[in-house]
């Protein structure tokens, strides 16, 4: 049996899966204390279950997300080496940010050596401020990690934890590397404490199978391995719903996935079972990062959103939420009240809900039922508009080769899959508003927990070989090798695959789920003057988001 748990903003869902069957699902309110919520959820789902039967478990939590949004990050110093470009002070982050002398160029050649005295001076200043966690980031460190390694080596004795930039991603983007490293460093203590406490709870409950956390790219990472890059576990909720949609439906063709919740509607696109990934990285709070994620858009319209009728007769649904729906003791009309009024939802105080709809109706010149209809239509219309813009934006992303311009792979959703509490009730309205067939899968109301439960481990490596410099580097794995002029794409692919599989196994992948995919592959002849001096090979390979074989086999 597999256990999946998703901590949402208002509710925490837990499922127990056997083969392709959902044996049991529970929902509890999410409390202020995350560990307590987890413990309560586990107690609920495990009653009457032998813990030994649970062979794996996965959690999508809000620990990192909330710490970032609520600014509860640990105090972290930053040591940065930059070189020419934008003034690095523009990216100052944390209480003690220091730029030291030293510069690498885009090929990774050293342009200005590191200045040890300025590094030590910065480290001492950070230490004097009572900070014991630091991040070390260099511009172009993914081309050559030497400066970051050197700084780290000089200062590591002074700090309890040093996070480095080159290992967060092989992607180029210095500001994002700074922010991602900062988040990894500043979440380290909190996350370590959390994973320790969770481990303790799980041990206590005799749950000894592999334990995973969900990441925003829809993949999982082993709980104990996650402390190295805790920012990678933030913003996993939207990914959980996409993976749940994938698990419960398969999402063949181009599918628009909508997760209609109480406060928001999250949208994403799945192409033949493959969620569309963000090419740059997820934004966490104010910070743009290099952390891979599924492209999702969160619209502030959900079942509990405020419904208003403007003086011109125009209705809006969201983006505000003011407490619960009227049917549940709230003060302001919501789409949930519309559902209750129409008898689609047999919950709460129907009389109160109907009264709220009547009030809307008086502004619109119709009765309560007609007003409720209008509310659901307007909600669907708002979602449809946002979804169209979302797809348009994905299709407008720039491309850099003739091949891509001419063979444009435009996403044109052929159907819509809706999950989340109000899914079956809102689906007919969305179908009409978007003019696309809508489906609602079984277990739509616990899709997120299912998604977390059956998502496989994902990993990614970026290989760059520069035979002029004579190096091949895979920054995510901390690998750098000398190479000769003959190094070619075949060798690069073999090397990347080996490293990728090892990386994935390290963070908890099972060896029967190591499907590797080349996501980017380019080779350039390097010429200086009229002489060929080398070859520049760029390769990205990943284990993309997908489902664990146990689940696929049974589907």
């Amino acid at each position: 049996m597999i256990l999946g748990l998703d901590v949402g903003g208002t509710q925490t869902d837990t499922v127990l899966i056997d083969g392709d069957r959902i044996l049991k699902a529970t929902k509890i309110p999410t409390g202020d204390n995350l560990l307590l919520t987890l413990r309560t959820a586990l107690d609920g789902i495990l009653s009457g279950v032998e813990p030994e039967q649970i062979e794996r478990m996965a959690f999508s939590t809000t620990l990192a997300t909330n710490a970032i949004v609520e600014d509860r990050l640990g105090r972290t110093g930053m040591i940065i080496s930059a070189g020419p470009g934008i003034d690095p002070a523009c990216f100052s982050v944390g209480p003690s940010f220091h730029v030291v002398e030293g510069c690498l160029d885009h090929q990774g050649f050293e342009a200005v050596p590191l200045d040890k005295s300025s590094v030590m001076e910065a480290a001492e200043k950070i230490q004097e401020e009572g900070i014991n966690t630091i991040g070390v980031v260099g511009k172009f460190s993914v081309r050559n990690a030497a400066h970051e390694l050197q700084i780290s080596d000089w200062v590591k004795g002074l700090f309890s934890h040093v996070a480095m930039g080159h290992s967060v991603s092989g992607g180029l983007n210095f500001p994002r590397r700074i922010f991602t490293t900062y988040l990894n460093a500043s979440l380290h203590e909190l996350h370590t404490a959390f994973s320790g406490a969770l481990t303790h709870i799980l041990d206590e409950k005799n749950l000894h199978g592999p334990r995973y956390l969900l990441k925003p790219d829809g993949g999982t990472i082993d709980l104990m391995r996650s402390a190295g890059s805790p920012a990678r576990t933030a913003q996993s909720g939207p990914a959980a719903s996409v993976m749940g949609a994938l698990a419960l439906d398969g999402c063949r063709g181009a599918t628009l996935v909508l997760d209609v919740g109480g406060t928001t509607t999250d949208m994403s696109v799945v192409l033949d079972g493959m969620p569309r990934l963000n090419p740059h990285g997820v934004k966490l709070g104010l910070y743009k990062t290099l952390i891979r994620s599924i492209i999702t858009h969160s619209l502030g319209t959900g079942g509990d959103s405020v419904v208003q009728v403007k003086t011109n007769g125009k209705m809006t649904v969201g983006p505000l939420r003011k407490g619960p729906p009227v049917a549940f003791g709230g003060a302001v009309a919501t789409p949930t009240d519309a559902l209750v009024t129409l008898g689609l939802l047999a919950l709460g105080n129907k009389v109160a809900a109907k009264a709220a709809m009547e009030e809307l109706g008086s502004a619109l010149g119709c009765n309560a039922e007609a007003a409720a209809e209008r509310v659901l239509q307007q909600m669907a219309e708002t979602i449809a508009q946002s979804a169209r813009a979302f797809v348009y934006d994905i299709n407008a992303q720039p491309v850099y080769t003739i091949h891509q311009v001419l063979n444009e792979e435009k996403i044109v959703p052929a159907s819509v899959l809706i999950v989340g509490g109000p899914a079956p009730h809102i689906a007919p309205y969305v179908e009409k508003a978007l003019g696309l067939p809508c489906r609602v899968p079984p277990h739509y109301d616990v899709a997120n927990a299912v998604g977390a439960a059956v998502a496989r481990v994902t990993a990614q490596v970026t290989l760059q070989a520069d035979t002029e410099r004579g190096t091949v580097i895979i920054p995510e794995a901390g690998e750098e090798h000398k190479t000769d002029r003959r190094f070619d794409m075949d060798q690069a692919i073999a090397m990347a695959r080996k490293t990728l599989c090892r990386q994935a196994m390290t963070i908890g992948a099972e060896d029967n789920s190591l499907e590797t995919v080349i996501t980017e592959k380019q080779v350039f002849n390097m010429m200086r003057g009229y002489r060929t001096v080398g070859r520049n090979i760029r390769l990205k390979m990943s284990i993309t988001p997908g489902l664990i074989p146990q689940w696929k086999r049974s589907l």
Binding site: P84, I86, D105, Q107, A111, R176, I402, V405
Partner: protein, 435 residues
């Protein structure tokens, strides 16, 4: 956090799958390191810098600016269409008001492509700026355009296309043609009979540095622009004046380019040449993007700037001061004696044009109708070593009835002649006819 004071569009198309030939300077690798630098700086994350996706230009767009022989398909590749299309995307972004200015960082370049195109000259097949300008004129009702070409090579293609157009001010700042391809671009090349003084060439001596470029800009280019009063300013932003460039002899820098751009404030910049792909382009392009966006560029410089940049010599400074003085006299203070022509007079000129990349020889015979009411009709008969023999007739926008009549006469006569193809480019009515 950082944000751009001026909203700027960026159209980036490095054409990673196109080269003239594997070892040609115009090859796949050319913008690779520029992309690396732009990405690593995180420029595209800065609020106010908006990246746009390219689209290919249509043949119709090319037909506004060129006579392609025998047709567009024969002399362009997909990459040329996308490069030109990238400029159209930039133009749309600016003219629809989505951004204040835009930079088309695209390849292949275009400023050596003339109105008649038999093949590739100086790495260029179609003139991407001209295609863009004519698109702007057709779609946005703009007439007066200024082009400032800061590529190290004389923008002879653009000069050719706008030679007769009094509504286009073309200024080219380049390395003296006696020392560099294409060997033209001297002060006496100042525009056709209907557009005298609307072509301004500023041939700078080899080794001109930051000081010289900015001097020419401040003393000459800016006052010329002010006097002309264009509705839109285009910068042909070649980057081969750089001290690291392998095929030129100038001494400009990334910082210099950034300052130039800040002062010039073009509405649209279009990449032209520049082949120091690993030690100039990454920094120059970052400098230009940041300058357009109104960001602080004082930290932008080449890693070898301190080591290798030398301020220009006194000789060069004196030489430039003298040149600028001469040009000021000609173009600002009325020193250029405009030749008087009779209304309706037909002037002819014969020219030989060489296509260095494709090894084609072309002989042109051009007729222009002198006219004080419009830009004047003209016709070009062209014979090339490829065996082509064609005639192209151009009717300008807002043509006067007399010029239209003359042009249509030429076209009818041409049809009966021995030409393989006769083209009619009727800009006034938006028609392009081939017979």
């Amino acid at each position: 956090m950082i944000s751009a004071p001026r909203k700027t569009g960026l159209v980036f198309f490095p054409a990673f799958d196109w080269a003239i030939s594997p070892e040609h300077p115009e090859r796949e690798e050319r913008l690779l390191y520029t992309q690396d630098q732009v990405m690593e700086e995180g420029l595209l994350d800065i609020p106010g810098i908006v990246e746009y996706r390219v689209r290919p230009a249509a043949y119709e767009d090319i037909q506004r600016a060129h006579f392609c022989v025998p047709d567009e398909a024969a002399v362009t590749t997909k990459s040329h269409l996308i490069s030109a299309g990238g400029c159209l995307v930039a133009a749309d972004a600016v003219l629809k008001g989505e951004v204040e200015s835009a930079f088309a960082l695209v390849r292949p370049p275009g400023h050596h492509a003339m109105r008649v195109v038999h093949g590739n000259r100086g790495f260029c097949n179609i003139n991407i700026e001209a295609v863009m300008i004519e698109y702007i004129r057709t779609h946005y009702g703009i007439r007066k355009v200024a082009i400032v070409d800061t590529d190290c090579h004389h923008g002879d293609g653009t000069q050719d296309i706008y030679w007769h157009d009094p509504n286009t001010l073309f200024i080219s700042i380049h390395q003296d043609g006696r020392t560099l391809y294409p060997g033209s671009g001297f002060p006496n090349e100042s525009g056709g009979p209907n557009a005298q003084g609307k072509t301004v060439n500023i041939p700078l001596p080899p080794q001109t540095g930051e000081k010289g470029f900015l001097y020419a800009l401040d003393e000459l280019v800016m006052p010329l622009l002010e006097e002309f009063g264009p509705e839109i300013v285009i910068n042909s932003a070649g980057q081969d004046n750089h001290f690291n460039d392998p095929i030129t002899n100038m001494n400009f820098s990334a910082r210099g380019y950034a300052v130039l751009n800040k002062r010039l404030k073009p509405d649209i910049a279009v990449l032209e040449g520049g082949y120091a792909i690993e030690n100039a382009l990454p920094y120059v392009n970052v400098g230009i993007i940041m300058a357009m966006a109104g960001l602080d560029t004082s930290f932008v410089k080449e890693p070898n700037y301190e080591k290798d940049y030398r301020p220009q010599s006194r000789d060069v400074t004196l030489n430039i001061e003298q040149l600028v003085e001469t040009l000021k006299d000609l173009f600002l203070w009325g020193g250029l004696k405009k030749k008087p022509y009779d209304e309706g007079q037909i002037l002819e000129r014969k020219r030989d044009i060489f296509y260095d990349t494709d090894g084609i020889q072309e002989r042109q015979n051009e007729k222009i109708r002198c006219c004080s009411h419009c830009a004047g009709a003209f016709s070009i008969s062209s014979t090339a070593s490829t065996g082509q023999h064609i005639m192209g007739v151009h009717i300008p926008m807002e043509a006067c009835p007399a010029c239209r009549k003359t042009a249509l006469n030429w076209f009818q006569t041409g049809r009966k002649g021995a030409f393989k193809h006769v083209y009619l480019q009727d800009r006034d009515r938006g028609v392009y006819d081939v017979v």
